[in-house]
Every structure is written in C-alpha cells, then in structure tokens.
Symmetry: D2
Subunit: 338 residues, 4 copies
C-alpha cells in the first residue's frame, strides 16, 4: 500500500500517518518528492488496513499495489489449470463446446438437441432446470424434473452435463445429477452460494457478473478456490453498458487479459453476450480467435417456440454451420513454432 | 405488444406473423403505414409470447407496451404505501433516518452509536451481522452474535433494527432478531432470497442492484410483493458507471421517477452511493430535496478504526451537523398550498 | 509516478527500470517490500514519461500520484473563484438561475420567455442559436438571427445572455452578441474550440461531456484556463449510463466533489440531466441542496410546440413553482455558524 | 410513431391526442387494447413531431418505429459499399490493414515504420499530425510538418495515407496531403467538422464515439453522407464502460451488427480499444473473425520511446507475428459455398 500525502500536508499530518502505520505493526518507508511526500507501507496484507487512514488529514490518495486475489492469480500458479469434467478437459489443447437449450422444456426436445449437438462435436450439454428470471411471472424452470432429463440425455449421448444452481440450499441436489455446476451472472457475488459450490467437489463454471470488473470476477473465483475446489472455469458472458442495440456488450478484451492474470481456463457465452442469434456465429469465432478455450451456446430445435431466450438461440442449421467454421478456424490458428 | 415489420417485408412474411399471432390465441390488429406494416397484438400478457416471433422473417422490432410489473405499479395502486416498521412509519409525512455502523463490530461500539444516533433523531439502527464482501479474506461479520447485539441495542434505546440477510437459509434466523430485513445490492436478483423474505412477514428494505435498471428494481420488488408481503421500501444506493472518482454514482433521478411509477416508499443511501464521507452530508440533503422519504447512513464513533467502509462513515460530529441541517431543510420544503 | 514491479521480476529487470529512470533525468527511489519492489520516480511531470516504461519487462503497474490539472485545482488556488458575467456574479453567495428555451425559435416567444423568467428571478437568459443535433435532419437553429434576438431580449429585460458555440470559427461571431459562451457536452473535448474560447475574453460555461470523468472535465477547463481565461463555470448535465428510463443520469456526486477538487463555480442542468420535465423541479432542488451555485433550466411558454427538447422544458407555471420552492430552500440552507 | 396511452387515460385525453395528430397533418390509427389505447401515427417523418405530444396528459410512452438514419441504412442500399482510397479498396474481399505510429514524431521514424509495415502487407500508413490530447500539457502533434512527412512516406513506399483532422478549419489543409481523413472518437459529434469532411471529396474514416450508441454512430455517418460524400468507412475503437482493467471495452458485437444495419464497411482499432499492446494481437484476430473488413493498428519501432500511446503500440516483431497469423486466419475463414 502506498499513501500519497497532499501537496499542502503539514509535517504534523505526515507524522500522524507514519505513527498510525507503526501502531498497526506495519513498516513505513518515507519518500520526499518535489511536490509531496509519499509513504510506502510494507507488510503482508497492508491494504486491508486502508480504512485506518481514511479519516486522517492531509492524505490525497491511498494506492493498492498487490492484487487482492491469490489462488486465482498467475503469480501464484504460473502454469495453466486444466479442469477435467468427468474426463473432458477444459483449458488444454481443444476448444470445448457446451451447447443446449436455455431451459430444459421437456425430455423429447432435450434428447433431440443433445443428439444433434453431440453429432456435431459438442462435449457438454447445457440446459437450465432452475432459472433465475427477472420477472416473477416468467417460466422458472422444471426443477428436479429437468435435472432428471439432463441425466437421461447424458446416459443416452455420453455428453457431460452442466446446469445452473441458484441457491446454496440446492447445491447438493443439483450436484447429484450434473457433472459441472454453473453459477450465473446474477449470482456471481452470492457468496453463500460460491462457498457452497466450493465445497461440492464438482467443477464450477463461473459466469462473470454483468457489472463485475475483472478483478471482482477473479475474487469470486477466489471464494470457490479458497474452499479447496480448484476446478473453476471462467465464462465471459457480456457486461452491461450504455449500448442498447445488443442485450449486453460481450467483452472479449477480458479473454486474453484474464489469461495473463490467471491460470484458470476462460470460456465465452456469445448467446447471452449478444442476445441476437444472428450475432452468435461471428462472435463465437471471434471469441476463439481471441483465445477462448471453450464456448457456451444456446441451441434449440425450434427457437421460435422456446420458453426462454429463443431470440438468442441457434437452430440446428446455424449450429452446424458454426461448428464447421470453428473447425477451420481452430486448425488455422493452431500454434506455429514462434 | 407491437410488431414492426421491416420496410422490405414481403406480404407472405406479414401473413406468417399474423398467422402466428392467431395460433397463440391473441388478436392481431394490422396497420399499414407509408413505409411499413405494424401489427398490434392484443391480449393479456402478450409480450410474454415475444419469443414466438424471434425467428420469423421480415420483423424489424418487437415493442413492449405494458409495464412488466403490476403490484409495484402506481397504476395498480394510486395511493402511497406507508410501511410500518414496528410502529415507525416509512412513506408518510416524516423523513425517516436509519443510521449505524456498516458492520456490528462489538456491543460497546454498537450501543455507543445507537445512543448517539437516537439522541439526534434517528428512528432505526442499522448494522451488518452478515456481510457480503468482495474478497473472501475480508471481515465477514459477527453473524448471530451481531444480531444479538442489535437486539440489545433495540431494548436499550427503543430504536427499531434493520440488518441485511444474504441467504435464503438465514431468513428465519435474522427475522427472529430484527424489525426489518435488508436485501443488499448484490442480492437484488437473488430470487430465492427475495421469495423467502416475501414469506417472512417482516418489512423489507430492498436496495437497488448496482447495475439494475429501475424496471428491474421494481421487478425485484414484485418478487417480494407477489408472495403476499406488501411492506417493501426501496433504497437507491448508487449505480456503477464509468466514473471512478466516487465509488458509485448516486442516481437521484430515480427518486422522483420511482415515486411516479410506484406507490412504494423510496429511501437513499448516500454512504454507499458516494463512498466518501465528505460527500455524504451534501448528498443526504440533496436526496431529501429530491423527494426521498428516508436516509440510510453509516455512522461510526471512530471511522478510522472501522472494520469495513470507514471511508464512507460519518463520525458523530458530522452526523449531528447533518441532522440539524436536515431539520431545517425539511421545514423549508414542507408542502405549501399550491 | 510510482512503478510497481511484478512479484516475479528478476533483479536485472529492476535494474533496467532504474537505469531508464536515470536516463530520462529523473530520480529513482527504490523500496523493497516483502513481495515486490516499488520504485518511486521523483521529478516534475514524471508521469508524462510513463510511456518510456510501457514495454520494459517485469513491471506490474505504473501509478500516477499528482493530479494532471493545475490551474483548475484547489491546490493551486485555495479560495473560490467568483466569475462575473457582465456584473452578475457566479460562485458567490447567490444561486444564479439561467433560464430560457432550448432553441431560439422566434423573437416573440423569446421575449415572452425572457420577460417571464426575469420577473421570477432568473439572472441570465439561455437560448440556442447554433444547435448540435444528433440527426442531420433535425432543426439546427437560427444562427446569427437567433443571436440578434438574444441581444434584443437582453436590451429589453436586462438579463445577461448565454448561448452555445459549436465551432472555433464561430467564436468571434457569437462572442459579439452574448455575455457568456457555452461549450456543450458533445464539444467538451473539442480542443480547438476550447482554446479559441480561452482567447475570447468572455466567461465560459463548460458543460461536462456525457461520458467524461471528473478528471477529464477539469482537464477541459484547464485548456481554457491555460489560454489566460480564468472565467470558467462548470456545469454538470448528466452522464451516460446503462439506465434508459431517464435520458441521462444526473451525477450530483460531482457537485460537492468538484468543489473539493477545484475552485471553479459549479452549476447543474437538470433539464438535460433528466430529460423529463416532471423530474426537473425535484432535481433542481436537489442540485442546490448538494451545493450547486447555479441552475441552467429549459423554459418554454408552450413546451408541446417546442422545436427541440420540449419534453424536458418547464412551462411558466412549473418554473414559477420551482423558483418559489428554491427561495425557501436557499433560505433554509443558508450557512449557520458551525 | 406509436403513442401508447396510459391505462388510466380518460376518453377526453385520448381525443386530445388524436386531435393533435390531425392538426399536424398526420393520420391517426386508433387501436383499443384490453388495457389501454394505442395510437399509430402515420406520415413521413412522424417521429420528428414527438415533442408536440410531450406535455399532453394521459400518454405513457411514445415509440419510434423507423430508423432515424436513411442513407447509411441497408434498407436504403442493400449491397455493400466498397470505398476506394486512391485505388485501395475497403469493403471488398480483402482485409485492409492501416498501420503506423500514434503520432508522427519525425521523418526518420516514420519512414522506418512505413517501410516495415508495407513490407508485411499493410496498405495504408496511419500517423497523427494533429493530436487531440486530454491534457493541454501533452504533446499535440507536429501539425503541417507531420503531414509533409506522411506525404514523403507515401511517395517512398506507395502506402496510402490516413490522418486525423480535428477542426473544420483544417480540413482543406489536411485533405491536401492525405488520401483519407480520419474523424476521431472525441469529434464523432462535432457536426461542423462532419459536414466539412462531407464536402471534402476525400474518403472518411469515422471512428465511433467512445460513448456513442450504434445508432448515433450511424447518424454521424449520415451527416457526412448527406453532404454527398458516399465514401465513409466506420471504425469501432472501444467504448467507455465501468471496466478499468483495459483502457476501453472493444465492442465487437458492433461489427456484425453494423454490417446488418448498414452497407458501409467496418474496421476495428484494437490498439485504442484495449490500450495494452499484449491484447492487440488476439483482439485483431477476433475482430477479423467477427467480420471486420480492416484493422487500424499502432506500430512503433521503439514503443517505449513513443511520445504518445506507446503502451498500446506493437513493435515490429509483434506486428510481423500478427500479420502472419492474420493471413492464416483469413484463408481459413474465406467463404465456403454454404
């Protein structure tokens, strides 16, 4: 932590700050600039004590110099994490596609979708059984019945299954049916839930909060990691901005940046990140070109009959086209000897 | 719902949309403009079926014409709701001040604060026992011990007590100690929690999500109201914008606007909404001038020793000054015969 | 400037940074923390050289510790600036109201408005002659004819006149007719224009860019000040956020914060800041309660016939009501001996 | 335009709206829903009259149903525009790379850069001679001397040249030296400047305003097009959001969306869009995968000595690597027969 004194700070004010640093048990290192005094504060976790200075006079600014997350940082673990979801590896050489309907609406449509996406190369089936909906009057999902249908589809197709859990009390139930637990954007800072999935023993797909900074997103991962669960996959899904022409603004800057800052795998959800099916294919390709290690896609046999988010779901024909283009892209961008 | 056809839509595409409207059991009303055809879709809850049109061709835009919330709307209930918190009325003639420390840190500091804020006119004591913190390594609150201290402070001072609940599983516990349950900004879309407090029988203080639109905020209220709990008080607490000079951007536009759209009382939290104690006093006055029916304020006997959010807490001297200025403001702005 | 080395920086990388600091002619001050090395860089304007380090290895972060503006800062000039607009003082004890139509539409309506607002206490008449419109097909203002009408209204009512200038080439023309030049939100970073008004000899009303940080706004003021023109009045007019229920989000946090950071007077424009006339009155009161030293208000005799921005214009009745409430508020919040 | 009456609107209020529609010379089409009355307003440019209704009572909402831009829309011109910049085509089959330093700093460095980027496949040289800088104390560019150096580099390398113009008064001067005029993000709504480049006879590179919606961006293009200049190339360069880890948030959603809405070519500037050179390569590939028809890249022989924006400039080695990867990507994503 660095404390920058104001231009007009009086010597007694500087003294008071130094005194406080020592009281807390930290070590002050004073640097006299031409305009102002700067005090380095040495000691582990020094920034946690910043409040202790907030009402002292003569301070212009308090700066943090260490990142607030540890287990999630690449400083802590330089090599990439590879997460195994019942044998399917995320974060390794392959781009992993998770596809399926926004909500599980019935067994037949789910199986139809599962068979199709499996035939085109998807490795995981996604589908919501518990849906967080903005309005209390919207379809809220089939609950445990939906989970059972997902389990059936797994048996039949071999696809692994990922589904969202929205409440700490449901973690055990959902974990009993799926291979990977998804934390949705509205729950990225639901800390009770994060801790519970951290204790679940299942890999976790952690979506970025729609208004979360990258730092807050990595701190949310830290909540899961700090419970002993190292199998966390991050998923960019668009942030809220002033632009209203798309549902959200997909932030692909985050993909290579998170890969610099963290060792965790990063995926992208262009379905929610755009909200318009016609943009899903180009943004999927863009995500992979930017370094995404997987895609989360909404696919529905008849999007115009979907109970939720039909407008952003691909139909089979467009999913097929995307998978073919993706294969060519992946081959083209395979690492050359640099 | 209104469906705007594209300029270039062919007659067969218009026909297909009209056909679909009828299939669903709604009534189409077609209007031929100079440039394009517009189809009004008549029937209750028509907008819920918008997905059914998302993949039809020739559609430019689908517009919603009814508000998605009902119980929270002023159309549903024209007169102001007055919420009674164990006899203290919010939404009536008085501006109600809730004050106290960000976190309950110990009995002594809590009692000291409670006595002071009560002596200056506060009606409720606020204090966090369960704290949602961005980092897993930050102080997370005293839990039930904190609730007990709040109950003691209530007995001793007569102040009503409000505290945050962060998990559906804790609602019963917290409701056993407090007069009003607070839903924090990070949980505004934690629907499991909203439904649980909706069944709790306690008044609810619902903070706006830091990236929630006003419509989403009223829909969150709708979740509580639709469980039969009509005692909801809304609290503006700042939204996330590009501006970094303050912690959040307090959106005072929302105060008179929500009072137009809804019958629910509206309060403001300038402590979180600014993040800097020196801005809390002017923004408190501004909030009341804009029509806020109450204030939620962080007050700490020694802010520089606070375990959380000291930088935005008022000390006793500044709280006293604010309460005196507030009294003069309220007198000056009392309704005159217009 | 402070250079924070990464946790894993090697000694040779630290050496390279220190070497570069010396090459530039600045003085390095090295501080060894527990986790990482931090290098203070001493010398005036050190931050301007930050690019020189952007490609060196082993650097985690480069931090700025001085504010980038000078003439606008309260460190530079501790006492409040009072700007005289042809004898009307802004930044002194009185709250100054500038009112008038969005656009000058004709002489008759302008005189009618000028007489009314003058009779209710406004000190300046506002009205656009050159209008920056989002669409090339919208009404663009009457140009010099509009300026002549403003001059006539000044003669007749004694009101001072403020009008927007949108192009460096027009500054001389506009300055020939008005008492104060307004820089609009879309031109806050039109540096050619800022420099030209800086040389004009007229007081300048500088609106905040709709996506400008407070720091950028003060830097825009610095452009004007650095040309020798010290008569700059800042005007908050709402920023662009994700919220769409109002046209912009009026940022009243900025009012007391800018008054801390700068000695320049601060006004507020609640007409543009909300975009809805029904919100203008409450937000005007809020702005003054927050410390605004003036208001810029759109008033139109028949808002529903306005050629621009009628939706946010007050009619005479509502302007009258506002001015009466404002007077009571100002009396109530006059400084007491603290 | 559609006028939605409120739930509680009285018949006389509905009548008043209909009356006003007729007064203006438009045609009302009334539709009685279950809950409320909706009035379609037929006539060309009806939305321009919306202000005429803003103060009538009983109106809930006024909706626009036509896009406000015409010449820029794909409805107006279905086929792609191809812009020729002195013979180099943008918007055709090739991805066009424009590269060079942020600012022209001297002839030698410019020539060195021009030769290198030409040798690797760039078709245009970019370089700023007039720089809009946030601070008046930053380097503002070499002005006409810089333009002369660009012209020299063109002669020597055959590269076409693009440079920014920041003031309407400079358009003629800049147009005398360059092949394409760039409008920067801060001037996207400088309408005097847009109109002037619209009359210049030179192709225009129109960067998106950092807080401009896609609709506003297309309206800015409309300003240029409406002066008779059809050679407009759009350039996405990042928008301002709450995220501070990157300088801006590059909005790649805009690329395929603008290509749906408009016939104009779209490029991307990942240097400004990220602000960090290490992110430029992945985001360049992502932009092209999303459908961008060109890239605008900052390249500097020694980025750590750049006078501006060195942190986001590629050095030669990284530019070379990018161009090689780009070639493979373009081959892989060439259209297959679908």
């Amino acid at each position: 932590m660095i404390i920058v004194m104001s231009h007009q700070a009086r010597p007694a004010q500087v003294e008071a700050v130094i005194e406080r640093v020592r009281e807390i048990g930290l070590r002050p290192e004073v640097s006299l600039g031409e305009d102002r005094t700067v005090i380095g504060v040495i000691g582990s976790n020094a920034y946690a004590y910043r409040e202790a200075f907030s009402h002292l006079e003569g301070i212009q600014q308090i700066l943090q110099i260490t990142k607030p997350y540890k287990l999630a940082s690449r400083e802590f673990q330089p090599r990439d994490t590879v997460v195994s979801v019942a044998g399917v590896e995320i974060g390794g050489d392959e781009v992993v596609v998770m596809a399926g309907p926004c909500s599980v609406e019935g067994e037949e449509m789910l199986l139809e979708t599962a068979r199709f996406v499996a035939s085109r190369g998807a490795k995981l089936l996604r589908g919501g059984a518990f849906k967080p909906r903005t309005s209390p009057y919207s379809f809220q999902g089939l609950g445990e019945d939906g989970l059972k249908m997902l389990a059936t589809a797994r048996t039949e197709t071999g696809l692994r299954v990922v589904s969202e859990v929205v409440s700490a009390g449901d973690v055990e139930l959902v974990a009993g049916y799926v291979d990977m637990l998804q934390i949705g954007t509205r729950n990225m800072q639901n800390y009770a839930l994060l801790q519970e999935v951290g204790r679940s023993g299942k890999p976790v797909l952690l979506k970025r909060g729609m208004s979360a900074t990258i730092e807050e997103w990595l701190l949310a991962a830290e909540y899961v990691l700090s419970q002993g669960n190292r199998d966390v996959v991050l998923c960019e899904r668009g942030i809220r901005t002033f632009e209203t022409a798309t549902r959200f603004t997909l932030d692909l800057n985050s993909v290579p940046l998170v890969r610099e800052l963290s060792h965790l795998p990063v995926m992208v959800d262009p379905s929610h990140g755009t909200g318009r099916w016609s943009l899903v294919r180009p943004l999927s390709l863009a995500a992979v070109a930017a370094g995404a290690q997987g895609l989360l896609l909404e696919v529905h046999p008849r999007p115009d009959q979907a109970l939720s988010d039909g407008a952003q779901s691909l139909d089979f024909e467009n999913f097929d086209l995307l998978m073919r283009q993706l294969r060519r892209l992946v081959e083209a961008t395979a690492p050359e000897p640099v």
